[in-house]
Symmetry: C2
Subunit: 415 residues, 2 copies
């Protein structure tokens, strides 16, 4: 983390409205609080959409859930669950009584609780998948590693989890583990400029209930070492056996004339892990020869984010002597592009040079900058400048939208 | 609420996986906790998307933000803010020290705090808008009305707020109030089958700091009375004057050679308010003549949700003697429709009659049910049954996707 390149990268993320991290002390442990600026919030939104499309929308028998991250405990004795932080809320505003609450630490439990009612949707048939996204809180103190805070978007007090649970007949488990490991790996690699930095490993771990689960971890090779991004856990049938021992109705299902307890395969990641991997992965530096002897060496920074993830698809800039008229034209262009479902960065007129606007757009990860000028008013000619090649091309304004859609994503954005 | 129609409606919402409400007692007050099932979660997702498109994506100079709902207090003395619930977290798991926290009750404060840094994006120019969505907690006890709990999706401990703040030069305020009131009213009416039940009223209210603000309330006429859905507050320049008195840098801006404090217009609603209005609005009952003398009067229930909001656009059903083969065909149809960005309900084969499947789909608010049968295998003929008219039409399977896209939304889904 002493690496100056990493320091410049973190400064860019803070300066350019992606994320600001601050340290807080809770239960004697340092945790991080994240604030996401305009660019970070758009990136998060795109990440959740891509996860949702891959895991929910295009999958069969997949149902989603949502509930409150703060639960009120009705039986305060039961504080043994490892999936929540049991806390007592004492209001500082009034003299009211304390309330025993649970701040959830994972989405697993509420999905598992919804399994039986979801079975009704499929007439008791498997496979069945449940998915949930939501904020979870990490108030636990068991994590002792001291260098946690130097890593990007790690060790957060509040993180947004992305969880999918797959309930399977025993005979299909091996195949499903294979399917989901491959599917999740290819998802991570799809958005990466360095697919070889995405790796996976499988091991056997023992969880809180002393049962052994088979865990596959997908990781990313950060400059400071390999960090886990997603876990794919094969829990076997023990979660359903536990459920049966606690509650009344039997969660057994029939499949091909056999009666059994479903096996549970669980994939879990967080929006913060996705951001850390994709932002680090997309960061590039280029040293520019200093123009004058006084000026120190200059470093150009670029976030080569995937077109499906970048906060803005295109930025509009105006230049030339008739800035006022050209700006009015650019407002119409922005409106049209937005109606074509493109995310457009169109800032008010200012006195920044084109070169500094290109730099800013590179640092924001905007794939294309479109420059409108006096020439555009006269003949309709615009310049499209690419983030990744720095090349500028002249085009007619009538072709702008189709060129952008084709370049940004031949198949996915057009339809 | 004693109304049997309202009781049937609430039972449908619970049975059909929209929302389950449970009462909890906190600080001596009853609050509600919501659990959203598969259909409720999809509806919420669609509501947030439509709000985002209207308020963020298609607007100029609009930036979005996100941060943690749980903040750690660094100065516990300052407990006077009305936008958060100051609480002390005492962990029940260990012997660690209590931590003073704030659970946010609104998104206003964190947006206001981001105003100055966002001004850099627009080179200090107005108008500038900030938008945020996120979970907020309502632990306060001042709300005394006793019948709150009988209303739908009201008085929740945790709600997802949708907030937009518009910072304006004084000269543009009246115009902006007019613009946003009209814009938000037309948004609410767009998704309503009864636009006349959406109403608005304007009054002057005094807020915590004893300053007077002009408030427009958009409401819906529920069976149990008019309830507010969204507030549009014209705060004047007092929030920015407050900000100046608390922090160092002056939040004054220049506009047309004048220097002034921006005026703040704030629009706030919640996903829960949207759900309550749109679900109530879409509910229809139809009494069916009993077929036998023993059977009591039968009531058909339909949720006529707007195509942009409904959890599923289309449901697939199979019937006939070759169910197994037809089901395999239906899997391919489902895959194709999903690739066309349609949300498809495709459940495993079961023994329910077509009539009971139509009923279920009506109660889930699915606009179209497509029936595949032996005939489809032979000649490609399918039946499309409409939720709103109950009419069935025969079509060729090759036209299915284009018919659905055209019927669901001529302009918005096709592109």
């Amino acid at each position: 983390m002493g690496d100056p390149k990493v320091r410049r990268f973190l400064k860019l993320l803070s300066d350019r409205g992606f994320v600001q991290e601050s340290l807080v002390t809770i239960n004697g442990m340092e945790k991080k609080l994240f604030r996401f600026g305009p660019q970070g919030t758009l990136l998060r939104k795109n990440i959740i959409k891509e996860w949702w499309d891959a895991v929910v929308s295009h999958q069969v028998n997949t149902f989603c859930l949502e509930s409150s991250p703060l639960m009120i405990k009705t039986n305060p004795q039961n504080t043994s669950s490892s999936t929540e932080s049991s806390v007592r809320l004492v209001s500082l505003d009034s003299s009211s009584n304390p309330v025993d609450c649970a701040l959830r630490a994972s989405l697993s439990k509420e999905c598992l609780e919804a399994y039986l009612s979801s079975l009704q949707m499929t007439s008791g048939q498997l496979p069945l998948s449940l998915a949930s996204t939501g904020q979870c809180f990490n108030l636990k103190t068991e994590d002792k590693s001291s260098d946690n805070n130097s890593k990007l978007l790690n060790n957060g007090l509040c993180e947004t989890h992305l969880l999918s649970q797959h309930y399977l007949p025993p005979v299909n488990v091996a195949q499903a583990v294979e399917f989901w490991t491959r599917k999740r790996l290819s998802w991570w690699k799809k958005f990466s400029t360095n697919p070889s930095k995405i790796c996976s490993s499988t091991s056997s771990v023992t969880n809180g209930n002393k049962t052994s689960i088979s865990r596959t971890i997908i990781g990313y090779s950060f400059p400071w070492g390999i960090e886990p991004l997603e876990t794919i856990d094969n829990h076997g049938n023990s979660p359903l056996l536990d459920l049966e021992s606690k509650s009344g109705p039997s969660p057994q299902v029939r499949h091909d004339k056999a009666v059994f307890h479903a096996h549970l395969l669980e994939c879990q990641t967080s929006v913060e892990s996705c951001m850390a991997a994709f932002l680090t992965d997309s960061y590039r530096e280029k040293t520019v020869k200093a123009t004058s002897s006084e000026k120190k060496q200059d470093i150009k920074k670029v976030l080569q984010l995937h077109p499906l993830l970048c906060p803005y698809h295109v930025a509009l800039s105006v230049t030339g002597s008739k800035k006022k008229e050209v700006f009015i034209l650019s407002q119409h262009v922005a409106k049209e592009l937005r109606e074509g479902n493109l995310s457009v960065l169109h800032l008010p007129r200012n006195s920044d040079s084109m070169e500094s606007q290109y730099r800013r757009n590179d640092e924001l990860g905007v794939p294309y900058t479109v420059v409108l000028s006096d020439q555009t008013l006269e003949s309709g000619v615009i310049i499209i400048r690419s983030r990744d090649t720095s090349l500028k091309q002249q085009h007619h304004i009538k072709d702008l939208q189709s060129i952008l859609l084709t370049n940004l994503h031949p198949t996915e954005l057009v339809k």
